[in-house]
Subunit: 188 residues, 6 copies
């Protein structure tokens, strides 16, 4: 049955409210086995001047970027090797872990790591999964890799999965798994 009411300050556009409504619906459905049509979400809006906490008026929090969009943009920027743009999306303390590599902290390390492995790689996405944990957004994406080995041989259909952590709209952590070594072993 659950009926969820969230009081919002006015100012969130319909798309943001739809994100909120979907997130709340999923939050409830994740814990209670209710029929979908039994989960109602209402989002009445209030003038900011109609809200007070601790006796003080408050401003509405800004909408957060969609983690899946952030990830897609970052990965496209990296595919294009636009390191400056990609670097601007990283938070201080960012770390990344790739198959067979030490934990890396700079994009230059990653480029160096990939050099002896392949000429280039493109991602085809099957799906993005996002969730929030406290102040941290987590986003997974998986699909397949295509590209060329160092010798120019093309490859495709190699499964991959990336996991990202995001805080304050910037990436703090990336973990990557894929079947590249499996594919190489097989082709060897």
């Amino acid at each position: 049955m659950p009926v969820v009411t969230i009081h919002l300050m006015t100012g969130y556009d319909a798309a943001t409210r739809r994100r909120i409504g979907t997130a709340l619906t999923n939050a409830v459905a994740g814990v209670i086995d209710a029929p979908p049509e039994g989960i109602t979400v209402m989002m009445p809006e209030m003038d900011p001047a109609s809200y007070m906490r601790g006796g003080a008026p408050r401003q509405p929090g800004a909408p957060r970027p969609d983690p899946a969009e952030l990830v897609r943009r970052f990965l496209e920027t990296m595919e294009a090797r636009d390191l400056d743009a990609a670097r601007a999306m990283l938070a201080p303390g960012f770390t990344m872990t790739f198959p067979g590599a030490q934990r890396m902290t700079t994009l230059e390390e990653l480029v160096a790591w990939s050099k002896p492995r392949y000429r280039f790689v493109r991602k085809t996405y099957e799906r993005f999964d996002s969730l929030q944990d406290g102040q941290t957004a987590i986003c997974y994406c998986f699909g397949t890799l295509s590209g060329e080995w160092l010798d120019g041989t093309p490859f495709d259909g190699i499964r991959f999965i990336d996991r990202f952590e995001i805080e304050g709209g910037r990436f703090t952590r990336q973990d990557v798994w894929n079947d590249m070594a499996e594919a190489k072993a097989r082709s060897a």
Copy 2:
């Protein structure tokens, strides 16, 4: 600011309500950049006889199992090679994809696949991430593998990640990525 109110039928224990409260808090925090202490969740409870939809009384939906617990139980059951118990946790149509393997549909295929690869494997978990998407629960877990290769050489610290889809409390899909081939290539 958001204040979230969810009207529940009485009968959910405090732990379930805490799961709901946490899920709703995260749902909001995932879309709105509000200070944590600004997200309030209230879960007033009502006698089921005080609720009606479409003119008909309704029963409260049962709490769903925690996906992370389901996954942990399944993986432990598989490590122990208790195939009957594991099979009982699968939904019809279950598929699984492992590195370098065709899509498999039975646990026996998986056992056969692993035979020429290692003697046994144990999982050390770093983290579980769960989310809900409509009627489907999705759970990721990642960490490291330890065990013995076929020749008895021990291994450990091999990164892995599993992704599960769950419907109606049973698994419909498992996808696995790991660095086993990378590790083998390296040790070769």
Copy 3:
């Protein structure tokens, strides 16, 4: 979509709450063409000490009798010619209007009116319809009459309809229509 929430003081039993929920559902459905499963009614309950109007605590109003039950009881009492019991159900100023009769104010008048018409009459009910208008409950019932004419000839299947007004649990007005004259004219 409408979601109706009615805050009640604790103390109304489940049957009364179901009456309230049904009445509210019908009230909405009478004005808005919403799909039935889209009308949700929630009836959270509060300790009377948690309610105040005009700075004064209040007591919950007693449940009103179901008008259809009142009417059925009154009509059965009249069929049994238990005039004392029936009279106790009348409010001061009660009036009744029957086919071909002046407006009557006492049950004795009614008995006198019926004497030259039939020996006795029984009612078979097809349906009761009740509604509330301000402080006045209105109840219709219709169905068929059976009984005996003065000469002992039996009759049945004669359509009738009664309309009652009720205030404070007592009848203030009764209006009756039926096909008795039609039936007599036909049998003549």
Copy 4:
């Protein structure tokens, strides 16, 4: 005490909201013996984009026509013998029952039934009573008939009552009772 809150999507005009408020007030007053000034109805409105059921946005249901207005229009159309207009107001499966007649299904039958009874008839309304039962609206109206008998003699003051059932804005059933036979018997 009851405080009724109905969350509506924006778009219902003030007259419709007044109908809703009155219907909810009467719904509560019909079950609980509360002082009138103790029944509060609040109808906060929400942007349709702020509402979701089953994870899907919804559109507000259209306001239903007022049953009393539908009935009045139908009866006026019939008095004017505008059968085409009247027929357009009938649902498939419409039936009507008049004093001394078989159940009829077409307006032509009704016209044929009335031919040997009176030249014409006009209705003076005392009152309309409407209620909703699930998806069915029910409307009663009563008052007096005037007109001319076949021989041109005028009549008036003959009591009548009509009962209508309405679904989806069209009539599915009409039942009529009146004192015509009583009046004729008396005048004979």
Copy 5:
């Protein structure tokens, strides 16, 4: 924790809503020892046509004047000896009590009382405290008096406190205490 929701009719400006929010926050904080940031006030607004009590639409009550502003204006008017303007602020039955005086009912009495005491007096305000008790607003103000004694000697720093009762926006009672006699005794 308390979350306070007050449903208002639209039309109150932001300043009035802030007064309401502050008053409600203080009302809660006066009874419950909650951390300030734990008291949330929400003031959703509704079209007046979306509200009904006792089946009747209602108009929003006008904002009351701020008692502290009323008091400040009255005292300034009195300091300026604009008796007509001050008198217009008094309710019938107004009484005032000053140190060493009989209860007075007219401003002329007050002027007569002050004549043998000082040439003039000015107030410096330290603080206004207002509260509401049913239909009566109560306002205290205190601070210091400065002015000239009859012989032209100036004085200042003499503590005073005034207490006012206000009904319907007009003063019904004034009580004054101060250290004038103490100061005179000291200077004697």
Copy 6:
């Protein structure tokens, strides 16, 4: 019209809820000129496990002592010259100001101040007025003093007013005004 809803955690007794209800009613009545019977307060209660702020469960804040009772107790303790008990009611940094005295910080100073003024004094209370301002409770009480001058002459009917500030249940400030000097001057 305003309808105030305050969601409380269960555990506040009826007397505390009545204090809350009265405080909220007065808070609204102080800003909006609504008819008293138009101000409704509802205080639904929730299991503490049904409440979360910032993703963390919370405990209900303890009820605060009634400022008027604290003040009455303190003044009675001082009249009885039970300085230890009175001192226990003072917060660090407590200050008090009496007619004709420097600002004092200890009860001993007060006793010393009163010694040359009267033998003893008793208070008759006309009224207590309490309000809350942020974390500070403010309480006024006024009435008349009776007692004996140093020469044994009795006195009574001398007007007084006390103002107290309270934080965390202890007094931080006391201000006193009265007509003692006026009375002495008059009796001189």
